[in-house]
């Protein structure tokens, strides 16, 4: 056994750190650290810097313009960029649609859409969930009817993250009600500027509006925007979800959150001393740190197995549960470290006032509330437990 990264991997990590040092604007990193919503231009600007370096699509094979990184390299990039508070790569084009087009798209679709993703010509969003189809995703009802050389789409999608910035949406739509519900689903690419598409923001309980509802009212979509075969979309959807679940452990985010928690606990006063000297609170930090140490190695063990060609099984479900528990616990402790100070939220709009010298406090409260989503989205933790139990039962 050798738990160290190889010399090549260590060199890669150093290269990532150098890149972040040179290219990441400290003001942008600070804004990101404080969980403030980034503008579209800020996210696009970061993508452009990564693309110039050839690193925007670390997960794509080189033949499609990707970096062709190994799972370990991707992990190193994600961990270093989270520690540096670099913006996340917006996943919808790069991490989700790209791999689906590469595996199931036509040559024409690959040649047209993939370079546009890398160049930032399109901003993609994800049209999966519906008001009546959340955990039961295959119960979706958004209809697409074939009429000549078009599909006509009617229905609604929801929880569309950053849909307010998007000009394109990839959608699961119902093209048949025959047979099992999974068998009548198709994967469609829809231009959001088509007449009949409307977007409505959903404000979340931390006051931010990062998700949306998207409505389709007789929206005409050319048939060439169908990916793969009609009624086979569920296969592509599941393939995409396995990619959505990479970096699911969020080790880098947790490490950054732990560092921040320790900094806060050192600064906050409790019974006349720094809070990190309080046995009760220190034990809670330590418990979470120990969990993170183990989970981080679980993550690496699974990445290493994947690198050696073992098919991923229930591991991603396990990492999702443990990873989100750890991050939510870190967020909860950080908010609580501020005690009576943590009773306000950042206000992005309006002139309603803000507490003095409290940017970090506001971000801790907002971050705690916002990250309650971690155990809900991408397949709730209850769904993940079902997957694990189902697999164990078969074994």
């Amino acid at each position: 056994m050798d738990m160290r990264f190889t010399p090549d991997e260590q060199a890669f990590a150093a290269e990532v750190r150098d890149f972040l040092q040179a290219e990441l604007d400290p003001a942008l990193a600070e804004k990101n650290r404080l969980h403030k919503p980034l503008t579209k231009a800020e996210m696009e600007g970061w993508h452009a810097k990564l693309n110039a370096k050839g690193w925007l699509a670390g997960n794509w094979p080189r033949e499609f313009g990707g970096a062709g990184w190994t799972a370990i390299q991707r992990h190193i990039y994600e961990e270093e960029s989270a520690k540096a508070h670099a913006p996340r790569i917006v996943p919808f084009g790069i991490a989700m649609l790209g791999p689906v087009l590469q595996k199931f798209g036509s040559k024409e679709q690959q040649d047209y859409w993939l370079p546009r993703i890398l160049n930032g010509d399109d901003w993609w969003c994800q049209g999966y969930s519906e008001p009546g189809a959340g955990s039961d995703l295959a119960g979706l009802r958004c209809r697409a009817e074939r009429q000549g050389d078009h599909y006509v789409v009617n229905g609604q999608k929801t929880w569309t993250t950053l849909g307010q910035h998007a000009n394109m949406i990839f959608c699961l739509v119902r093209t048949s009600t025959e047979g099992k519900k999974q068998e009548g689903i198709s994967f469609l690419l829809i231009d959001m500027e088509t007449p009949g598409v409307s977007v409505r923001p959903i404000v979340l309980l931390d006051g931010t509006a990062e998700v949306n509802e998207v409505f389709f009212d007789d929206v005409k979509v050319p048939v060439e925007n169908l990916v793969g075969t009609e009624n086979e979309g569920w296969t592509y959807a599941k393939y995409l979800l396995t990619h959505e679940r990479t970096n699911i452990a969020g080790v880098g985010f947790a490490t950054a959150a732990l560092d921040n928690l320790k900094r806060v606990a050192k600064a906050q006063i409790h019974r006349g001393k720094p809070l990190d000297q309080d046995p009760l609170f220190a034990a809670q930090i330590a418990t979470t740190e120990i969990e993170l140490m183990a989970m981080s190695t679980t993550n690496l063990r699974m990445l290493s197995a994947a690198a050696q060609g073992q098919a991923p099984g229930v591991e991603s479900s396990m990492l999702k549960i443990k990873g989100t528990q750890i991050r939510q616990q870190l967020d909860a402790l950080t908010r609580r470290a501020y005690g009576g100070w943590a009773q306000a939220l950042p206000m992005e709009t309006g002139n309603q006032g803000q507490p003095l010298d409290a940017d970090d406090v506001l971000s801790a409260t907002a971050g705690y509330l916002n990250n309650r989503k971690l155990s809900i989205y991408g397949g709730s933790n209850e769904i993940q437990r079902g997957i694990i139990a189902g697999t164990l039962a078969k074994g």
């Binding site: 969930s129 009546g132 189809a133 959340g134 955990s135 039961d136 119960g139 929801t158 929880w159 959903i202 404000v203 979340l204 309980l205 006051g207 600064a267 906050q268 006063i269 409790h270 019974r271 006349g272 809070l275 309080d278 009760l280 609170f281 909860a332 908010r335 609580r336 470290a337 501020y338 005690g339 009576g340 100070w341 943590a342 009773q343 306000a344 939220l345 206000m347 309603q352 006032g353 803000q354 507490p355 003095l356 010298d357 409290a358 406090v361 409260t365 509330l369 309650r372 989503k373 155990s375 809900i376 989205y377 709730s380 933790n381 209850e382 437990r385 079902g386």
Partner: protein, 338 residues
């Protein structure tokens, strides 16, 4: 043994329920005052007519169920402090609802210590208090320091106010004191009785929110269908809402314990202050987090009723020391107010 409300208190509860369905926002305070609800929170010495644990618990529980976020704990502490300072007239105005006071307790830079960001020199205060609910509307402000309670006129020299929205609803402020004249009312422990009533108010308010969030969650699980059936039929979810229901009863009993021991010997009363806040704070956070999780995405949205409940539950845990703060003092056998 009888845990039922007295006839008077049942009438108070009916009155409140009626008012809370008819009035909201700025309307509510004058309506509560006119109906004698503020007076019911205060003793005769403070310009009211009741002030019992039972009256306080039932009033704040109803406010918590309805999600009416009002600085009424400040009114209780304020009226008591004003009466003690010989300002009975202003206390009476508070009881009538024509004057408001604010209670400045939390400080920046510390979890729940008092006197870290603010200090007293002679009869002047210098430093800062934060998250002071209702400060913009207050005629007077009751301020805590390391060991004492102070009265400050809202127009006093050297006092500046920076106001903003609070996450529980309503507005709060940072107060900056620069050699601001203040009247020392006494040691915190001298006001242990009314401060304990404040904790009861916050705890009962949280209890109302805990009940409302649990009911809303149960309703949702009964009506939300996935995989062709109501999601309450999934045992993994049903057991979690059952656990919430068990904890609701623990929270209610912790509130009942404090309510029943408000006038007990201070050493006994303080154990119940700490036990109540430790229990209710823990349950409030548990119910807040479980409610969001059991709802799923809809529970994350501002438009849905749960959002406000969650923020009020977190705020109620935080007010006047959270569960950990009181747990630690309970473990060490320390008084609640020192």
């Amino acid at each position: 043994m009888d845990f039922a409300l007295s006839d008077e208190h049942r009438m108070l509860q009916d009155t409140l329920r009626g008012l809370l369905t008819r009035h909201q926002g700025d309307d509510l305070w004058p309506a509560l005052a006119e109906a004698g609800v503020i007076g019911a929170l205060l003793t005769e010495d403070e310009g009211g007519f009741d002030g019992s644990g039972s009256a306080i618990a039932l009033t704040f529980e109803e406010l918590g169920r309805a999600g009416a976020s009002l600085p009424l704990v400040a009114a209780m502490i304020g009226a008591s402090a004003l009466a003690a300072a010989g300002q009975g007239d202003l206390a009476a105005e508070v009881a009538e609802g024509s004057a408001r006071v604010a209670f400045a307790d939390a400080e920046p830079g510390t979890r729940y210590d008092r006197g870290v960001a603010i200090r007293a020199e002679g009869d002047r205060l210098t430093g800062r208090k934060t998250m002071v609910a209702g400060a913009e509307d207050a005629r007077a402000i009751i301020v805590t320091t390391a060991d004492a309670l102070w009265l400050v006129d809202a127009k006093a020299s050297g006092l500046t106010l920076n106001a903003y929205p609070l996450m529980e609803g309503g507005r709060g402020a940072d107060l900056t004191f620069e050699a601001t004249p203040a009247t020392r009312l006494g040691a915190l422990s001298d006001f242990g009785a009314v401060l304990s009533r404040g904790v009861l108010g916050h705890s009962a308010y949280a209890l109302g929110g805990i009940i409302a969030a649990t009911e809303l969650t149960l309703d949702y699980l009964k009506t939300r269908k996935q995989f062709g059936r109501a999601i309450l039929e999934f045992q993994a979810l049903a057991h979690r809402v059952a656990d919430m229901a068990v904890e609701v009863e623990q929270a209610r009993s912790a509130v009942t314990n404090l309510s029943g021991h408000l006038t007990a010997d201070p050493a006994i009363r303080d154990r119940h202050v700490q036990a109540c806040k430790a229990t209710v704070g823990r349950v409030a956070r548990l119910v807040a987090e479980e409610s969001v999780q059991l709802h799923g995405g809809i529970g994350m949205t501002e438009e849905y009723a749960l959002a406000g409940m969650i923020r009020r539950l977190l705020a109620a845990d935080t007010a006047m020391g959270d569960a950990d703060y009181h747990l630690e003092r309970f473990a060490h056998g320390e008084p609640a107010w020192a």
